[in-house]
Assembly symmetry: C2
């Protein structure tokens, strides 16, 4: 096996087979993916959930993670916030001619490790190779299937005034870590992506039944995008308290220097939940048992007016609108 991807690795011939049989499949093989066929049988229950995401992050490796870990946890997290326990994953690789086999293998190892941690079985895959200059080293689509464990309604239209907004962890680490690595900014390797498996945290909230009203991970567009999506879908507004939003000090400092708003920076290990106020303290207690939930906090409240808007009470007591992010935030952040 040579050390770089060649176009022939995508041709369906001898080299394609070698790449799949010698490089990819040995790393990803598991009991639910017993052989290389066009499709794999999976055991389902009646109520499942399906989610897909393509990862185009640049650079492929960044402090705290890489595109492989991101492709597993990112899609599993979308299932988790939909109330489903991730079960099966498909992987679609688009490799660019010239990509180093050694780097591909590191990504595959990272996928295998993350899949084991998330207890999800990779069951089928596909590998394409595009000519140099037509890709980004490696892009990965992962599509996940999960079993519904929470069957309540997660619909912002059902929010009532006084419902509380919980943030599961500190903002901004993923975006700053990736941007720092890409632009070789002096943010240091101290800031690691928060890329993590959120299912255990989400599961803590399932037993609250109808008092759990909404969950969403705050990826592209950050907290600002999620809160604006919520208010756009419902008939209420949201008031958030800047002083209560957890942000790590080094992330805040780096964001300041770079002129980035931590509310808009992508996260890969943080979700927003909206809950009935009577369960807030219990929910925070449960989340804080987990490493990723140690800084979980109630950061805001559902309000009647102004409907459809996200308002922030600033540290100095003022109020400002938090808009849906406009323009170019950080391309290829996930």
């Amino acid at each position: 096996m040579e050390d770089r991807i060649r176009l022939e690795h995508g041709s369906g011939g001898v080299l394609s087979r070698e790449l799949i049989e010698q490089v990819i499949y040995p790393v990803l093989k598991n009991a639910a993916y017993p052989s290389l066929t066009d499709g794999t049988d999976i055991r389902c229950s009646v109520s499942m959930c399906m989610s897909t995401d393509t990862y185009v992050v640049d650079p492929v490796f960044f402090p705290g993670g890489d595109i492989g870990k991101l492709a597993v946890f990112g899609t599993c997290n979308d299932l988790a916030v939909s109330g489903a326990r991730p079960e099966y994953l498909s992987l679609g690789f688009v490799l660019e001619e010239g990509f180093l086999l050694e780097e591909f293998s590191r990504v595959l190892d990272s996928i295998a490790k993350a899949a084991a941690e998330a207890a999800v079985a990779v069951v089928t895959g596909d590998t394409k190779v595009v000519p140099a200059g037509k890709g980004g080293g490696i892009y990965i689509n992962s599509t996940g299937i999960g079993v519904k464990r929470f069957t309540g309604n997660l619909d912002p239209a059902e929010f009532v005034t006084g419902d509380e907004v919980i943030l599961s962890g500190p903002l901004g680490a993923h975006g700053i870590a990736v941007l720092g690595a890409r632009e070789r900014l002096p943010v240091g390797d101290a800031i690691l992506s928060d890329c993590a498996n959120l299912y255990p945290l989400c599961e803590e909230l399932f037993s609250f039944g109808s008092a759990l009203k909404f969950m969403r991970d705050a990826t592209r567009g950050g907290l600002a995008a999620v809160l604006n999506e919520i208010v756009a879908a419902g008939s209420s507004g949201i008031l958030v308290r800047e002083a209560d939003i957890p942000v790590n000090r080094d992330v805040a400092a780096a964001a300041d220097i770079l002129g980035l708003n931590t509310l808009e920076v992508a996260n890969e290990g943080v979700f927003i939940a909206v809950v009935a106020p009577e369960i807030t303290s219990d929910a925070l207690k449960r989340l804080s048992k987990h490493a990723e939930g140690r800084s979980a906090a109630a950061i805001g409240t559902v309000v009647k007016e102004p409907a459809g808007k996200v308002i922030m009470e600033t540290r100095i007591g003022g109020r400002r609108i938090v808009d849906l992010p406009r323009g170019l935030l950080l391309p290829r952040i996930c």
Copy 2:
């Protein structure tokens, strides 16, 4: 809405939302995909099948189809040859900065039309934008879930001497159509890709039970790749008869001029089945009721020796080995 994809269309902000809500979702919305959430609930039965494929075809539009039609039928066909009726589809788009919105919309329309024809519901999706020079206009991952309708064993290890190899249609049209369009070769618009939904044909064979022993669509690497995969997985050989392999005359002529071997050219509407000899004529009769199966033919036989090899009996009575394709066939053919 401007007329070209901008990086901001992938940022998670206002333009992302506009692209999804105004361009993508209106075309793909259906009863099983009632709202834009991170994951969509799907109804499953116990025995399902999952398959994934990423499409990087160049050019995006070609005689007889486009990347959208390919992304739907290609993945549905992988489920069909696995014995499953396609039910749900996810779509992951990687758009390149500068790609024309008008072309994207044509692809979306084509997806919607193909999904309706295949009776498959698009239930979730994702859209990423990469900078100019980091993509190929548009790449599409589609991942499909199907209900198992044929639960027999489709394992080449179970073949016995005398089993027959059926080809469902004429070879080579997809590869020649795409190559002709890409290289502006004078093959003319008369050669259309064979891109088609194969489930109705596959379903015809399910009722044969254990006499149906194997199915596989002949995409990248063509017939040569599939037959070699079969013999590599079993303990028999295959003898194919060149004179019995259907190839349309204009495709054969174009392949000759281009120096291509039709056995190795990609197809998107042709599959190989291996069946017990007593059902061959019945199977061919059933396939030929469908437009795509009009030229279905028995093209070869499972033989004891030489095990692990595909041998072709040529038109002039000689014999030669059909190898797994080597080297670069046609990059970005699907």
